[in-house]
Amino acid sequence: MIEVKNLVKKFGKFTAVDNISFEVPEGEIFGFLGANGAGKTTAIKMLCGLSKPTSGSATIAGYDLVSETEQVKLNIGYMSQKFSLYDDLTISENIDFYGGLYRLRGQKLKQKKDSILQELKLQQQKHDLVKSLPLGWKQKLAFSVATIHEPKILFLDEPTSGVDPITRRKFWEIITATASKGITIFITTHYLDEAEYCDRISIMVNGKIIALDSPANLKAKLKVKTTAEIFAKLTR
């Protein structure tokens, strides 16, 4: 689903992403970890087609990242804590807006909207402003909206920041269910227990991927017991 070869991004003399290569198969939950400033955000921006690589290549959902950028964008979904819904639009308006961005129109959009509202049991509240929703619900709605166009890959950038521990776990249950349907999940997080829920994780340090494997294999290799220790050992 994702194939990255020798991807590089330079800003002037500074190399933010330094020759990374990896593959993520269909339906995998791939945890993309690293310290602040390691280059994660720059890498994600490139993979979503928002920033042009300085060199290297990538295929995302079967499309070439550089020559077929628009196709890439139509086949991926993106959600983060910072960039999600419009607080001053209603639930229904947010769905219409994002559906429109992904070129859903008329009957198709209406059907999708109905099924989201039904699934989240928000039919009664559909004309309420999004800002009136509790954070946990906003997150579920943001997730539904990010998948409204049935993308093949979903990029989740720190999707669980700031919610309570039960909501955070429930959100992961949605993520796992989504991956089971064959959607590839590419996720970043600062909660290291969540790294355990990924099929594989990569750890980025100074622009390079210095480790990539399943959490169990990495723990065995480094002779540690938790993913927090993997992170401490590799990033300090």
Binding site: V163, I166, A216, T227
Partner: protein, 311 residues
């Protein structure tokens, strides 16, 4: 009297929406006091009330015996406040920022250097760099230095580690423990529950209320039920299978295992045996059941679980 902060019948509302509703809360001198809760629980509003930036709509707060409304000026002189949002001057350098905050409190960087030395040495190589050009971890250290420069007796830190990577977070908590040893009382909020165990006291905030509060160790020792740590070959199915078990009180993912509580008062051995048999009939292999020592996160989940069932 060793209590530094005393909160009585505190209420704060935004228009008609209740943001903070805390009948009573006490913080003692020398505490490293953690306030934990999700976004929107009311933590930031509580900090602004403690920092004398908001006036309570009802009730009162005293800090070292001084009232946050009548004596706000005195309180500000011995309180250091680090807001959740980076709020130093991005177009001033590190050194200029600290000098500015020092001068506001009629002191100088040199006068109180000993207090911030350990943190400042890490900033020193960049002291002429503008604050806006610093990484997240560096900004956080600068903000802490600025909050400390007037030698406060009380530090209020509103989510200082949110969005900061795990290694830098650890470093930050090491600094807080050192400050606590110097006798500075610290109130700190965080959404990361693994950090909460560093505090000697904790308050759990949920929907504007403090739903539990006390010694950190008591949260663990007072955990009501036996907690089991369960692993099996198919972890994704395991959680659903455990929730469908007729005697399940709760089952939540914790890294590479599930933490499970049973709703009966049977012995550890009986429950383990039943669970193993149940999971094996559902096709699980490599079933591992052991007793788990509760963490702060387990305690918080237990309280929230109770709240949600009452909703």
């Amino acid at each position: 009297m060793s209590e530094l902060i005393k909160v009585e019948n505190l209420l704060y509302t935004y228009n008609s929406k209740v943001a903070v509703d805390v009948p009573s809360l006490e913080v003692e001198q020398g505490d490293l006091f953690g306030i934990i809760g999700a976004d929107g629980a009311g933590k930031t509003t509580l900090f602004r009330l403690l920092a004398t930036l908001y006036k309570p709509k009802k009730g009162k707060i005293t800090v070292f015996g001084e009232d946050t409304i009548a004596d706000f000026y005195k309180i500000r002189n011995f309180t250091g406040y680090m807001p959740g949002k980076f709020s130093l001057y991005e177009d001033l350098t590190i050194k200029e920022n600290i000098n500015f905050f020092a001068s506001v409190f009629e002191t100088t960087l040199e006068e109180n250097y000993s207090l911030i030395e350990e943190i400042y040495v890490m900033l020193k190589p960049f002291e002429n760099r503008k604050a806006g050009k610093l990484s997240g971890g560096m900004k956080q250290k600068l903000a802490l230095c600025s909050a400390l420069i007037h030698k406060p007796r009380l530090l209020l830190l509103d989510e200082p580690t949110t969005g900061v990577d795990p290694a830098s977070r650890q470093e930050f908590w090491d600094m807080l423990l050192k400050l606590q040893q110097r006798g500075i009382t610290i109130i700190v909020s965080t959404p990361y529950l693994d950090e909460a165990r560093m505090c000697n006291k904790l308050a759990l905030m949920h929907k504007s209320k403090i739903i539990a509060n006390g010694n950190t160790n008591d949260f663990i020792s007072n955990f009501p039920k036996l907690l089991f740590h369960i692993q099996a070959s198919d972890m994704r199915k395991l959680i659903h299978q455990l929730r469908e078990f007729p005697h399940c009180h709760s089952a939540f993912s914790f890294g590479d295992s599930i933490h499970y509580q049973d709703n009966r008062d049977k012995s550890q051995r009986e429950i383990s045996q039943e669970l193993k048999t149940y999971l094996k009939t559902l096709g699980q292999s490599d079933v591992w059941v052991s007793v788990q020592n509760p963490t702060i996160e387990d305690a918080f989940i237990e309280y929230l679980h109770g709240e949600q069932n009452n909703d």
